[in-house]
Symmetry: C2
Subunit: 356 residues, 2 copies
Amino acid sequence: MADVSSKKATIYDLSVLSGASASTVSAVLNGSWRKRRISEETANKILSLAKAERYTANLQARGLRSSKSGLVGLLVPVYENRFFSSMAQAFEAEARKRGLSPMVVSGRRDPEAERRTVETLIAYSIDALFIAGVANPDGVHQVCAGAALPHVNLDLPGKLASSVISDNRRGAEVLTGAILQHAARGANLSPEDVVLFGGHDDHASLERIAGFHAAKNAYFGQECSVEDVEKTGYSPRMTELVLEQFFERNGQLPRCFFINSSINFEGLLRFMGRHDEETVANIVVGCFDYDPFGSFLPFPVYMIKPDVQKMLEVGFELLEAAPTEPLVTIIEPRLIPPRTALAGPLDDISELSVSS
Amino acid sequence: MADVSSKKATIYDLSVLSGASASTVSAVLNGSWRKRRISEETANKILSLAKAERYTANLQARGLRSSKSGLVGLLVPVYENRFFSSMAQAFEAEARKRGLSPMVVSGRRDPEAERRTVETLIAYSIDALFIAGVANPDGVHQVCAGAALPHVNLDLPGKLASSVISDNRRGAEVLTGAILQHAARGANLSPEDVVLFGGHDDHASLERIAGFHAAKNAYFGQECSVEDVEKTGYSPRMTELVLEQFFERNGQLPRCFFINSSINFEGLLRFMGRHDEETVANIVVGCFDYDPFGSFLPFPVYMIKPDVQKMLEVGFELLEAAPTEPLVTIIEPRLIPPRTALAGPLDDISELSVSS
DNA sequence: TTGAAAGCGCTAACAA
DNA sequence: TTGTTAGCGCTTTCAA
């Protein structure tokens, strides 16, 4: 019977109980016993003993000794956002699938915080790091390089390590095409009716802007030289501000919005909160990010859903392959038409019994 | 100058370089040197050496030796949800404020997964665990007890440890009152116009149902004995199913919805995706959870926002106080009127420079 | 004011 | 097929 004494059992306890040496116990318990040619008999004895004693390995000790902790990190800017939280969800699943333990941390787009949290992860000897959405990629890369930490960039490209990114250009093109087509059903459009809000000078934004312009040029059959991009960074507050300014300047909102991310979309929500429903009654929105609630707002919202699951699969493969040259893999995102609520992680589980 | 050799510096490296012993270096580097009466001079020498060598402590080794890892866990069902992701955000902030490292894991409301992930956390010698939203609290509690792991229940009460929960009853009462008042502006209501969807037999659901009924009884001035609760568990799919059944049975949706959580709300979204906009044109919704996008849907949505920040502050205090008897602390949530987009974590950061 | 030495729980040569 | 031994990097008595 299991000893109920609070202290956790160690391989030494099992060594004494089983009569085998600590190293034999160790080998049995970490699975390397076949290779170490330990008899099935002793293995079984130790295994059942371990179960009886509720043995679980001390992963800090194992990590210290073997200099690999089994921890993998994911750095996101924030959790409170459908894109990054779904990324965290996929990351956790993918990590566990590989017997690794996920550690998700948030850098809050603050270069200081980003560096510090990554340094902390390194202090815990994480084996690898996935980097998604940082304010200062160079700073983080530098820290990784200094610690010789394998890492993969997610959703943003990097020079020092492999990257998995969405097809921002093509996604933006498709998204822009969709809102143009939708809006054109009602009335004639001119180039200044179609404006992009959000983004900055990062790679993703620039690609999306390029795709946005490509689609507009194709639609209008000309090089549109109007000012149709309002950069706001990844800040809801700034997006709201810029929208207010636009509204004041023009007396109305543009007919078609391309919104660079759900974070910027929250800026539009704030604008909506300060104006009546008429103000947004006729707009058509395309957002480069997916949020099920965003999909049902009182105007048509087309969304682009990056394939985070795929991105993480590829990311882990890249990590394992450890190519000599940094590789960039581009993953196709998916256009989500208005009024679409996709299934999520909670759909995979067994339903609870239902009473009325 | 710092050695660029990839291997990380250890206290022994600094010991050699400084001429002091490893134990002295250790004491200086972990801050216990004043107490150990080490001279300011040697301390400073070692400190500057450490900086030059870019020394960072190996936290696995420290943890192994001192049998406290500095890791705190948070178990949530899923990330992809505004409530739990804001909880993760607050948890991380609160943990770092205390010099601890957060590890957030998702149990996917799967009793097996919940146990396993908690066991893994324990294997990494986490110092404490916060438990929020599990399918099988008993299983998890048992694992914690077996490892003598201090833990705090969040958003659900538990017998074995202290709990911090929302005032579900009062919140539900306020929320129900708000939707009743709103809906009454248009037409006369009868008890069967006001229906609760979601939840199960867990404490939170039961309290919310009680608050819901209290508010209805107060409004209608009578004990309403109508069947006005449709339990669906915390499953979008099941919620959708039950809504479809309701719709088929009655030829229309109820006028007023009380939705037990944003997870159930996603079930309503799916229903909406399968029906035209007319079907939901006149409903009034109250949701026990806050989501900024949910707040702007094409019908009035009142929401209750649990005060996760406060819940976590209290949670950590409870952990530190370690009361002999489990304590239950109730935190007031906040009613959010329709069309409200609150500020979030990204608003605290410095804005990027903005170009047009 | 500092150092020597033991050991946290585990892994991995190397012997036997 | 198994055991012995020497650490991984750190903390912590205990002595000096």
